[in-house]
């Protein structure tokens, strides 16, 4: 189908699971686990940054005498 449209294309078909996708692409379970942990570490880092930013915002300003 060509696109002379403003309508969106409805994607059909089942979304493969992570395991199915890894098998199809020849990525080992160990590698998938490493990537999962890597992404979790990004999320933890972001959460930590946001927490620190929130705390800084809440903390009263330290002014000189």
């Amino acid at each position: 189908m060509g696109h002379t449209h403003t309508r969106r294309t409805v994607l059909t078909g089942r979304i493969p699971t992570v395991e199915e996708l890894a098998k199809r692409r020849g990525v080992s379970r160990r590698r998938v686990e490493w990537l999962r942990q890597l992404i979790e570490s990004f999320h933890e880092r972001d959460a930590r940054r946001r927490r620190i930013a929130r705390m800084r915002k809440k903390a009263p300003l330290k002014r000189g005498r």
Partner: protein
């Protein structure tokens, strides 16, 4: 833009394929045709069709050529193709045979790619928001940096790096988008 396409398509639950993953003894063109026929959708970004700096200055025609193959492959089965460009009206100038086809404009920016994909695609139940698409994109970018430094890869345009980025996109999408969470099932 490459990472934005990987992230965006993964967030929509698709499994991106690309010509860079094609290896083997078959002629490259045959492999491309086989790949196109095995896919239900193809996404063609023509924004990088430009003169290079290395003499003789030549534009790379692979992308428009592959788009042509996708257009021609339709009689062999259901295949939806999408054209992406950085600027409005550039396609009219570069490929007037496609007059009447509206390209999706991304303005040469990753956020533009994510927006353009959201304008092009929809699923019945699973509908990632702009913020969720952005979160997946950021994860894919961080993964790309890690892969590059940890494995000393010069280019992300290689089969192995591509596979890992796809997996990272999918894993991130599962974490960031509730409707993708869980195992198996007939999520649509």
């Amino acid at each position: 833009l490459y990472l934005a396409f990987i992230a965006g398509l993964s967030a929509f639950g698709l499994s991106p394929r690309a010509t860079i993953e094609l290896t083997g003894s078959q002629r490259r063109l045959d492999r491309i045709i086989r790949l196109l026929r095995s896919c239900g959708y193809s996404f063609h970004d023509l924004s990088r069709v430009a003169l290079d700096r290395t003499p003789p200055a030549t534009p790379r025609f692979n992308m428009p050529f592959e788009l042509g193959l996708a257009v021609a492959s339709k009689p062999h089965g259901r295949h939806d193709w999408f054209v992406f460009e950085a600027q409005r009206h550039r396609l009219t100038k570069s490929l007037s045979d496609l007059n009447g086809t509206d390209p999706h404009i991304h303005e040469g920016h990753p956020d533009g790619v994510l927006r353009a994909l959201s304008n092009a695609l929809v699923r019945r139940r699973h509908r990632p928001t702009a913020a969720q698409l952005r979160a997946v994109y950021e994860d894919v970018c961080h993964t790309a940096q890690t892969i590059r430094s940890k494995f000393r890869i010069d280019s992300l345009f290689e089969a192995r790096a591509f596979d890992e980025l796809i997996m990272a996109g999918r894993l991130s999408a599962e974490t960031s988008i509730p409707s993708l969470r869980g195992r198996g099932g007939n999520r649509r």
